[in-house]
Symmetry: C2
Subunit: 343 residues, 2 copies
Amino acid sequence: MDEPKIRNMEDFATVSGISRPTVSKYFNDPQSVRESTRQRIEAALEKFDYRPNMYAVNQNRRLTKNVGIVVPYLADPFFAEIARNIENLVIETGFRPILLSSHGDPQQEINNIESLRSIKPAGVLMAPLGRLSDREQIRAFCDDVPTVLFDNSIESAGEAFFGMDNEQSIGLIVDYLCRTGEPPVFFEMRTPPNPNAFKRRNAYKGKMERLGLEPVMLQVEGEGWDFEQIGFNGASRLISEGRLPTNTVLCSNDRLAIGFLSAAFELGRKVGIEPDCTLRVAGHDDHPFSRFTCPRLTTVSQDYTSIAQKSVETLFSLIDSGQRAPSRVTTLFDGRLVMRGSA
Amino acid sequence: MDEPKIRNMEDFATVSGISRPTVSKYFNDPQSVRESTRQRIEAALEKFDYRPNMYAVNQNRRLTKNVGIVVPYLADPFFAEIARNIENLVIETGFRPILLSSHGDPQQEINNIESLRSIKPAGVLMAPLGRLSDREQIRAFCDDVPTVLFDNSIESAGEAFFGMDNEQSIGLIVDYLCRTGEPPVFFEMRTPPNPNAFKRRNAYKGKMERLGLEPVMLQVEGEGWDFEQIGFNGASRLISEGRLPTNTVLCSNDRLAIGFLSAAFELGRKVGIEPDCTLRVAGHDDHPFSRFTCPRLTTVSQDYTSIAQKSVETLFSLIDSGQRAPSRVTTLFDGRLVMRGSA
DNA sequence: ATTTATTTTTTACGCGCGTAAATTTTTAGC
DNA sequence: GCTAAAAATTTACGCGCGTAAAAAATAAAT
């Protein structure tokens, strides 16, 4: 097509008729050059399709235009959704998102932050694994790179934390369940990987006590992130052995509830609020699939749009200011009751 | 801790007592230096925690140690799972995976491959969006970068393609359904985003005709990747309007089936193979959630472990050889019947 | 101990770009 | 048309590393 092969910015500057420093200026901020100059560059850009070598560009920059996003488990649609939201917001701002999943593995999480270090990101948005996280390593990382945590917090790590208010949300659904039927028992993993689970456990306990009711925990065995299976196994045993003390079950999260509902169905227990039902099941999170369970799952929705939005906003205000946050702010969003058929 | 601040390889070479070129050699391949030298470097590495500036390293390399992974929709647990598999395999090989999702958007897909270009990856593993993909752009990209396609193919693009044999898998489940009850109707989107859907449609049609049966398509409206919702809406209408011509439904994929089952449950239609059931529903893919539907979904499993493995193997044999594939090979894996309660 | 093969060191250059300083050109204001 | 301000150009240096070539040091083998 076009005669000269463009190998670098020098070549491109020549064919566009502009000096290299000005072209460099253009690529760093197109608005920083005169209108007429911009047009000439962009005209050349159409003809020759040159793009700066990103490695050379970033070599001398203390910070790049990269933003890291770390989630604990990407195969969980909840995190996939929130990652998608965050990714788009980061792109809108003109930065390049680098999405990393820890796959539920603490070692992977360390690898991910190591990997991010070498990328020299302008900032990082991170949802830590939680219980299994190497807190010290994460704190050290947060000291070096402006980091906003979300979903679950690590004490005194990161510039800010955005999550949901488990006290509020659990209170909300416990209230609802008590108001409309028997008080709920709490169905959860005995050793959950996610610290939010502990907060919810305590929130349930506190709320029940405040209501003058006795909290009952049903703690099932299981490790890892295969929550549906763990919920299914646990519920199968509880139901078939008749060890359910009430007809109302509040699950620590929707994925456990999905397993629970599946087990209940298998065992012929009719779940729901219809007169012929013998069991009520509620979840927590408003997981993308919770509207397609049988029956459809009553739950508390996490406001992940707000979590994503606020996390990104906060990170970029830090990046723009070039400073660190004067103090670590924790922001908790309220859950919203989502009434469907299961409770 | 340690006095001298290590700013670059020069500094590190000094403190480790080795010359910079040798240190450079070590980082490119630790096995390429003498045992005693390696130990001295690694001893220094423990003390001083230096890592090469990846931007400087890659600046002059024609190819980096990066491998791109592009999936059409990461919020779909099926792709999340296959991405997870591929990521791990890539890491094992000592390369750095760069995971990108097109979020169901053709423009994003283009952005992703543009983004990959500037990273100069050694190779790319890509599952194209399919119907909406800009085939020309993808072909152009595949010409420049060694690329292996998976999940769905784009004619004459990429060095190889790995996917599943829809003819075989649909044949398998149609056979099963016909053998055990009424022949199935085919439930699908009228305009699916994924070309595999067309292959399955044709496979169903062909198989039914070969069995001397009349194929019946139930095509529901809907755009995008919100398959469960689309399946739910479509099934709700079909069931409530009594437009289901048989009692057996084969869904084009599991996510549609999940929506279908949810709708059937809502409308009080009992699904399964028990005597009191009035509907059988089967899916396709063995989606991670299909074992927790109510009833549990009978389906055909995609062998995504093999797809991931073979795709990665093929890409790395290309990368290692430094050559392009002599001819484009298409490999299709058989599906396996997964009998559960729904059909 | 000598020869030979292997590895390391020394020296030096280049990659593609950011960026600073001084100079020249263009634009805007009157 | 003149002046001041804004923008572009010229020139030059540095970043952190890869890598080539020649010299020196080390290891292995006789």
